[in-house]
Structures are given as structure tokens and as C-alpha cells.
Symmetry: C2
Subunit: 187 residues, 2 copies
């Protein structure tokens, strides 16, 4: 049994069935597996959720890092914004999980939101910035993520369409338009 396969299939299933209908029974049916086998590898449902969160974070991080190194210098924040949007549009199941995991009782408190932020923080903040700046940037980052989720929930998950380029530009401009951070990666 491939552990990662379980996570991928469960994410997919969750998008289709929503939270309350994504049961162990449904998961093993989709995997063509037995409950006993699944519980041999995962101690309970929470562990599956936990690994879905880890997997989602890893996938996003990997994707953003690729985007970050692929193109160089100018408009780095635009490239990152665009990459994040494109990634979540392509991986709807991850988008849905990120949006709906907050309401689930199977995800323990600690995992929930902050881990995702930390990653963006690393991309956007350097060590030498002062506390006040960091706090405000964290707020802005939180706002940024929330905006992406809400907009993509509406456009992609409800209406099934991808954002137009001008919309991506609008989103980027709203948050990072004339931001000093734009210059951070221009060195």
C-alpha cells in the first residue's frame, strides 16, 4: 500500500463528497483496499487528515520554490502570486482541503493555520526586519491567503473557471502593488 496514494485519493474524494461524507468506508472503497489494511498504516482518521495537511503544504512549498527559482529578479511577488493561484486552480483538491479543514474535528488544533503562513513568511521576510514590520507583514500575508482562498472558492470550486490574467494582476496589485517588498528579491 502506497501511503501517498492514500493521501492523494482521500484529498480527491473529499473534494467530491465534502467533509461529512468522506468516511473510512468511502476511502477504502475508492482505494480498493480493506479497512484493516488502512488501519494497519494509519492509526486513525486524524492521522490521515494530518498527513493531508502536511502533503498539501509540501506540494505548495515545492511549487512556489520552483516558481521562485525558475524566473529571476523582477516582479518576484507577482510570479509567486500567480504561481500560487495557478497551482490551487490546478490542484482543486488541495484548495478544497485548505478551505474546509478549518471546520473539521479530525484535524488537531496545532496544525491548522499557522504552518502555511510560516512558509510564506520565509519567502517574504528576512531575518533583519524589525518586529513591528514583521507583525504587519504577517497580517497582510494572512489577508493575502484568505483572499486567494475566497476568490478561488468562488471562481474555481463553485463556478469552475480559472481567473483571468487581469484578475490575477488585480489581486497582486491589491497586496503587493507598490510594496517595498518588491525590491527584496532584486538584489
Amino acid at each position: 500500500m502506497d501511503r501517498k496514494e492514500v493521501i492523494k485519493i482521500t484529498l480527491e474524494l473529499m473534494k467530491e463528497k465534502k467533509l461529512e461524507k468522506t468516511t473510512i468506508g468511502e476511502i477504502v472503497k475508492r482505494l480498493d483496499l480493506s479497512p484493516g489494511s488502512l488501519y494497519y498504516h494509519f492509526k486513525n482518521k486524524s492521522e490521515i487528515y494530518k498527513e493531508m495537511a502536511d502533503y498539501s503544504l509540501e506540494e505548495i512549498t515545492r511549487n512556489l520554490n520552483e516558481a521562485r527559482t525558475a524566473e529571476s529578479n523582477k516582479n518576484r511577488l507577482f510570479i509567486l502570486t500567480r504561481a500560487l493561484i495557478k497551482f490551487l486552480e490546478e490542484r482543486e483538491e488541495i484548495l478544497f482541503f485548505l478551505i474546509s479543514m478549518k471546520g473539521s474535528c479530525y484535524l488537531e488544533e496545532e496544525i491548522k493555520s499557522q504552518d502555511f503562513l510560516i512558509n510564506f513568511k520565509n519567502i517574504l521576510l528576512t531575518e533583519q526586519q524589525d518586529m513591528n514590520y514583521k507583525k504587519r507583514m504577517l497580517l497582510k500575508l494572512n489577508m493575502f491567503l484568505g483572499s486567494i482562498y475566497e476568490v478561488l472558492y468562488d471562481s474555481k470550486l463553485v463556478n469552475g473557471r480559472n481567473l483571468a490574467e487581469y484578475e490575477i494582476r488585480d489581486i497582486h496589485a491589491s497586496f503587493w502593488g507598490n510594496e517595498i517588498l518588491d525590491t527584496k528579491y532584486n538584489n
Copy 2:
């Protein structure tokens, strides 16, 4: 049996137990009611969810309208932003429901996100504005709401603290800082 009491209690219960643990059994236990009695008034679980969504929207609308008429003229958008944040901080159960209902299989598609937007749209948009402007403003509105949800999820629901005034100002400034809409209510 008070219909509205069921909705209020269920919202409260949901914040504590999360989506998958908010069952009919838990609801009737909290209400000190019998299942038969609950099902005499609500045809199924979806109907309860539907009315929670309606109730949440009504409460927000009522609250924003009060804020809108109470204070006059200048900085209307700041007052609305602040009122929305304060309302959701005070009514955590509504905040949690708005955040987590997207992942639920008991809320039918149609209700989901748009209805909440329509209300803000009415507040922010007038009839005579052109389509392009409206579309962009709708995107911005969506971003605005998503930001509020994400920020308050983190600050209030996870960390249990209210936003500081400077944070509210930051949020307002990010979206409506030097916006022509500021003048809309100054007539």
C-alpha cells in the same frame, strides 16, 4: 419549540464540536429536546444548515445597516469594515459557521458563497456603475471577505484575541484606503 433557538444553539454547538461532530443527537441533547420534535419542525439536517446560513446573513446585514445609519458621512467604509470585524469577533459562532460551511455536504450548492456577497454589493455598488467596474469591485469584495475570515480565524478562533485598532485600520487601508468608493456615501 423556538425555531430561532434551535439555530442559535446549533451554531454555538458547531463552534465547539466542529462539523463532523455536530450531529442531530448532540443538537437535541443541548436543546433538551427529542429527535422527533426536532424533525417535526425541520425536514432534515440540510434545512437546519440552510436556516443557519440565512440567520447568519440576516444578523450581519442588520448589524451593518445599524452601523451604516448610526454614523453619518465620512469614512463610511471604515465604519463598515470595523463593524463587520467587531460583529464577527463578538459572534464567534457565526464566524466559524461562515468559515466552515464551505466544506459541508449538508449545505446545498446554491446558498453557499454568493448570497453573502450580494449584500455587500448592495452596500457598495450603485445601479449606474458600469459592468467592468462592478466585476472588479466584486472581486475586491470577495478578497475583502476572505481576508476578514482568514485573519479572524487566526486571531479570534485560534488565539482568542480581538484585533487591535491599528490592525483594523491596516485592513481597511489595504482595501479601501484611497478608493473612490469612499465618496459614495458622502452625498
